[in-house]
């Protein structure tokens, strides 16, 4: 009521204030830049150093004092990783697991969230509270029995323990984020479609999903990173080299290199950079979805 009247004026006032404060501080303050540059070097420097090392020859990486730039850029290192290490195999394994878990997590979380957001049923609030409570539960408590369960099912050393659980709910955070977003979509859209004879599943697929693109992208990013960067669960559940993910495979070859003594640092670091590339590209292209998702984690607290 009154707030609606007030908003335009308030907005204008805020804008002028913003402009004011902008003018006042627009002179760059050198005191701010010094720590910023040091921090940028601290965060970015190791990356740069690693990229450079990955482009050196095996002899050059052990030079002392170390040099930043390679004398000749050994681009061949990035070719060699595909032959020296079964890199293509690990990449394929990681891709299979990542794509299957992403699909499972997003589809099942969207279905569950739709159920919580759009249907009335006895015990709904209590059940949703239970969803949220699992957010605080450290997974360690369920780790051992889950392992035993998968062992009884004969699923050890297969991708099933890494994939199947995500098809059953997709995780509390994803359900929570989807539900919050679905609730903001006016119910009138559903009703209109229902009058036209659409089933509830059709409402979800044709109305809710297209309107929720941002939250789907946000959760797709998180699902990708969760699975691509996962180390712990593949470590526990996978035993044979042929089934290893990138994370496990590289770790395995690093250990082998430590034992064997032949310098393979340049190759391992090249492989590490290739493995990191999708994450960096994803972050740089979809930054705003990232930030939104992380801030949403803050809201729940």
């Amino acid at each position: 009521m009154t707030s609606a009247e007030l908003t335009p004026r308030r907005k204008r006032r805020r804008q002028t204030l913003r402009a004011d404060s902008g003018d006042r501080t627009s002179r760059p303050n050198p005191v701010v830049y010094l720590p910023l540059i040091i921090l940028a070097l601290g965060f970015g420097g190791p990356f740069l150093w690693t990229v450079m090392t990955s482009l050196k020859s095996p002899r050059e990486i052990y030079l002392f004092p170390p040099t930043l730039f390679p004398s000749t850029f050994a681009w061949g290192n990035y070719v060699e990783i595909w032959t020296q290490v079964p890199f293509a195999l690990f990449l394929r394994n990681s891709a299979v697991i990542t794509i299957s878990t992403m699909a499972g997590q997003i589809i099942s979380a969207a279905l569950v969230a739709y159920g919580f957001a759009r249907f009335r049923f006895p015990g709904r609030n209590a059940l949703f509270l239970m969803v949220l409570s699992t957010l605080m539960l450290p997974t360690q408590v369920t780790l051992v029995p889950t392992f035993i369960l998968f062992r009884m099912l004969g699923w050890l050393d297969s991708y099933k323990p890494l994939i199947v659980p995500l098809y059953l709910g997709g995780g509390a955070f994803a359900i929570f984020l989807f539900r919050q977003f679905f609730m903001t979509i006016p119910k009138e859209y559903d009703e209109a479609a229902k009058i036209d004879g659409a089933s509830s599943l059709r409402v979800l697929v044709q109305i809710i999903v297209p309107m929720s693109k941002p939250v789907f992208i946000t959760l797709a990013i998180f699902a990708f990173l969760r699975s691509w960067n996962d180390f712990f669960y593949p470590l526990i559940y996978l035993n044979t080299l042929e089934k290893f993910t990138l994370q496990l495979g590289l770790q395995y070859f690093r250990r082998a290199a430590d034992a064997g003594g032949e310098p393979t640092e340049h190759l391992l670091l090249a492989a590490a950079m290739v493995m990191t590339a999708p994450c960096i590209i994803l972050f740089l292209t979809l930054q705003q979805y990232f930030v939104r998702g992380i801030v949403a984690t803050g809201i729940k607290g």
Binding site: R14, S21, P46, P138, L149, N229, L246, T276
Partner: protein, 319 residues
């Protein structure tokens, strides 16, 4: 909304056909979660509680031993060692991590050139796969040709063996994990919090003659306390679970958690008992002790928060 549902309640005692149909669809949609919750959360929790009271070497069936595992745990020197290592790590990484993230956010919130590039640079380490960051840092920490010791040698310091040294392995891991976490989610939560502080407050304080430090101390920090509290809770839970970096670093050396158990954190100890020694009963007891530890820390923080976290009266965070 709330009012109408209360009014409806008497009529809802008996569901109409339409309502029953709606409820049924609702249950159908959430059924994947219900199954997942029973199979992967509730069931395992009950099972883990039971296993913690048994001796269960995995090859034979579980044998009930009462509280023996818990008694053993308190006499187990490795347990105390892992707890000590974890607290050493936590006591440094929580304040430095949260403080560092706050510092970065405050700097990035200034009117500066190249803000988005700087923010991306700070954030990138946190999306990098853990095996990649660990290999990167193992290379930087290389005692003879690593960059870290080279830089130290430039100022006349002979650097330690870092990850190979009992005294320096934990500080090295802390540096690694700070690098990956300080510019990550915590910083973004602070940045969002900073953007939520109304400009009017600064305006008003300036009229009263407040300088930058006073504004920081009397406006920015008090209004950020909810974010600081949230990130502290998350940081404590997260750091007690430290595993992957320490595992990757030490598995190349003699044993997991090495050198000489100096990086044997709580979760590594649990991992060893569960997946290397296959002592499922003892590992479950370790898991439950861990669970209560996390619970106590979280409740303690919530209790303490009442004395220092500032919540604006009335208005919610509303986003």
């Amino acid at each position: 909304m709330a009012g109408s549902s209360v009014a409806l309640r008497p009529a809802r005692k008996r569901l109409t056909d339409l309502e029953r149909k709606e409820a049924l669809s609702g249950y159908l949609y959430i059924s994947p979660w219900i199954v997942g919750f029973i199979v992967f959360t509730l069931g395992p929790m009950i099972a883990s509680g039971y296993y913690s009271l048994t001796e269960y070497p995995l090859i034979s069936s579980a044998k009930f031993v009462g509280l023996e595992n818990y008694a053993r745990l308190f006499q187990d020197a490795t347990f105390w060692k892992s707890l000590g290592n974890t607290y050493y790590y936590a006591i440094i990484i929580v304040p430095v991590g949260v403080g560092g993230a706050l510092f970065c956010a405050l700097l990035l919130n200034q009117k500066i050139v190249g803000k988005s590039i700087l923010r991306a640079t700070f954030f990138l380490p946190s999306v990098t796969p853990v095996v990649a960051t660990t290999m990167l840092w193992m290379w930087l920490f290389n005692p003879s040709v690593g960059l870290v010791n080279y830089i130290l040698s430039l100022v006349g310091i002979k650097g330690p063996a870092w990850l190979g040294s009992t005294a320096w392995s934990k500080p090295a891991l802390i540096i690694m994990d700070l690098w990956t976490s300080v510019g990550g989610n915590t910083m973004l939560i602070f940045l969002a919090g900073l953007q939520g502080i109304p400009g009017e407050l600064y305006e008003a304080s300036e009229i009263d003659g407040a300088g930058s430090w006073r504004k920081l101390w009397h406006i920015t920090l008090p209004l950020l306390t909810p974010s600081i509290f949230l990130t502290m809770v998350l940081a404590v839970i997260g750091c007690l679970q430290v595993f992957s970096t320490a595992y990757v670093v030490s598995s190349g050396q003699s044993s997991v958690g090495g050198p000489s158990e100096s990086t044997l954190f709580y979760m590594l100890n649990l991992y060893r008992h569960a997946f290397m020694y296959y002592e499922m009963g003892y590992a479950s007891a370790l898991a439950w002790v861990f669970f209560f530890m996390v619970l106590v820390f979280t409740l303690l923080q919530i209790k303490l928060s009442r004395s220092w976290v500032y919540y604006e009266a009335g208005e919610g965070t509303g986003i």
